[in-house]
Amino acid sequence: MYSENLLENMELVEKTRESREKQQLPILNEKKKEKLLSSFHPDYRLSGFRALRVGVNRGDRTVHEIADLLEAFSSFDYREINFEKPDLETDVLVLGGGGAGITAALFAHSAGAKVILATKLRLGNSNTIMALGGMQASVSENDSPIRHFADTMVAGKFQGRRELVKAMVDDGPSIVKWLLDLGVNFDRDEKGNLLTKKAGGSIAPRILSIGDYTGLNIIKILKDEIRNRPEIEILEFAPAVELTTNEFGECNGAILFDLERKRFVLVKAKSVILATGGSGRLHIQGFQTSNNFGATGDAIVLAYRAGAKLEGLDSFQYHPTGIVYPDHMVGVLVTEAIRSLGAHLVNSKGERFINELETRDVVAAAMIKECEEGKGIKTPSGRVGVWLDTPVIEERYGKGFLKKKFPALFRMFMRVKINIEKQPLLVYPTLHYQNGGILIDEKGETTVKNLFVAGEAAGGIHGKNRLMGNSLLDIFVFGRRAGLAAARRKYNEPGKQTLSHLERYYQELKSLRITTVAKTPRIFQEYIVGD
């Protein structure tokens, strides 16, 4: 139910709906786009960034929130751990139970390795489960892996590494086959072909989906599959808090923290796969986020302290349409498809201000501009946003369309007595995706031997901007590659487990006279609810 002042402003939205429908907003030329981005996109806000003072990437630019994470000591005192006596031993240790982690575990297991998977929350609770829109893969007739490659490189402003992008797009079709064999029910057309939809920034229809709940339906099946392979040991509510290395600096295990018993679990492994996802819950530059509760960037901290190189952590994706009202839904995503179908973005004066089909970064920048220039709408708790006029779609495609096409969205708002058929939504850009991460090669290995990374935690693929649907693809592709390559290390001699990398890191922090009260990895953000 909307509050009084919002209902008042909403009348204006209704009044201007008809005239807005006739309006054609141009796509901005490159120069105008650049100007808009550099003035209003958070990635260009100089005050949001600083140069890292420690570690392999010293001197590189990143946001304060990530720098704070890295220029810090651990939250834990590890002295009580007996490193001679690991609690568990395995060939492959997978950290993270989202799409990338489960995939890596399944492949490492099929390759004959003994696998342990440890995750922070319940298995599957992740960003993957929340992915609505779909997954890219070049399967349609008028598409090709090369076209997919070109789209990805251009979207990433040529900052993605071409060998990684090639690996991703080239494996796309075979990863779809793997998912189909597991019983994933991608939408089909009348002829039984995989249905492909067009997405912003792509020259061919390439999005595969399962209704408007793609990630959920894939995760349900991956969870079911891993549950049916009892040899894979699964540890829930046991986040990784540090990696261990041997005398050569190679990774050979991790320290987990059992959240229930409140004690450490030392795991020794011949190789480790970090798949703990992104960092939306760090609320970079104060933004609301679409990410799950566990997305606190732990992978970056763990890998960086162990000496792994990072790449591209000066670029994040802000999804234009995050909810700002009601309060308990703040940050939650409204799918892109709503804009693709023609919903307008409307300011407090009842005007459209940007062609809604521009890329995510441009639309987000335009929304921020409106709000900073006083043309946003204020909610009772003091947040600002612009209207996303959903009833336009209902009028265009007929009554009942929204409810039928977007049952999840419809239901979500019906629960709070907002009918998206008749009332617009209030939205503001929401922190959505970590474009960079820990640098990997085509096998998924980092610059630290025997340490692999897959999924959103990895860097080097998406450059400065990720194409919609490429993330779901990359987690399966690199989950598989990392799982298979890690399994091949099962004849390794892992050596003695130590924290000497951490000692070195602490020395560097101290010698730079960095003192900090921040403790990391963060594991969970402390939410101070209340006023």
Binding site: S126, I146, V154, N193, L194, A204, N217, H328, V332
Partner: protein, 224 residues
């Protein structure tokens, strides 16, 4: 800004929290270390199942803790891990998995279509009807209805016969998708890749200078 407070009962304890909070927020606000029953905070992951009784109401209701706003006098308990039976099988190794449905989940036929599960579902799925369709062999229709299921387990918690509809339908969903004819468009693309149709071009791409690569990508996109 000071907000109006409401009194609620959480697992029997009376506490006051600001109006407008969700059950999860109320739990955090009162110092509960809630980790087990939380995940996406978006109503998508099913980790936060709750049961609650509203003041003056005669009936216990069910919902998601991250989506339910507390109300004066509400009596709430969290129940994220309700035990539900899951069968063991490896779909990819079964010839025609759907034929094994009754072997794998014999409890399907003990369902009496009483409808208790439907009442609990926070996704407004007519779970009882799904069960009926499954019994009748209308698998497509049944699993289509379950696409929005978030595996919260609330339906299973209500079933007087201890059936877990969410897992039975998940098996069926996997079984029938697995048996669908392989899509032609994907088959073609896989064949092309197998025959190394793109390898030469990849070779060139990997050799290009940065400028050449930019030009190349531009051209590919314009041709399309």
């Amino acid at each position: 800004m000071s907000k109006k407070l409401v009194s609620i009962y959480i697992e029997g304890r009376k506490i006051k929290v600001p109006e407008g909070y969700t059950v999860i927020e109320a739990l955090w606000d009162t110092g509960h270390d809630i980790k087990r029953g939380v995940g996406c905070l978006s109503g998508l992951c099913g980790a936060c199942a709750i049961a609650y009784l509203e003041k003056g109401s005669k009936r216990v209701r069910f919902g998601l803790g991250c989506q339910t706003i507390v109300k004066e006098g509400m009596n709430i308990t969290v129940m994220p891990f309700f035990p539900s039976r899951t069968a063991n099988y490896i779909i990819s190794e079964m010839g025609k998995p759907i034929e094994k449905l009754r072997e794998i989940y014999p409890e399907l036929d003990t369902c009496k279509n009483c409808g208790f599960c439907t009442i609990a579902c926070p996704e407004w799925i007519n779970v009882s009807k799904v069960m009926k369709l499954l019994k009748e062999g209308k698998y497509e229709e049944a699993t289509e209805m379950m696409l929005d299921c978030i595996l919260c387990g609330l339906c299973a918690s209500r079933c007087p016969y201890g059936i877990a509809p969410q897992f039975i339908s998940l098996f069926v969903q996997r079984a029938i998708s697995h048996e669908k004819p392989f899509p032609e468009n994907l088959k073609k693309r896989l064949k092309e890749i197998e025959e190394m149709k793109y390898d030469e071009e990849w070779g060139r791409i990997l050799q290009m200078s940065d400028e050449e690569l930019v030009e190349f990508c531009k051209r590919i996109r314009e041709e399309a």
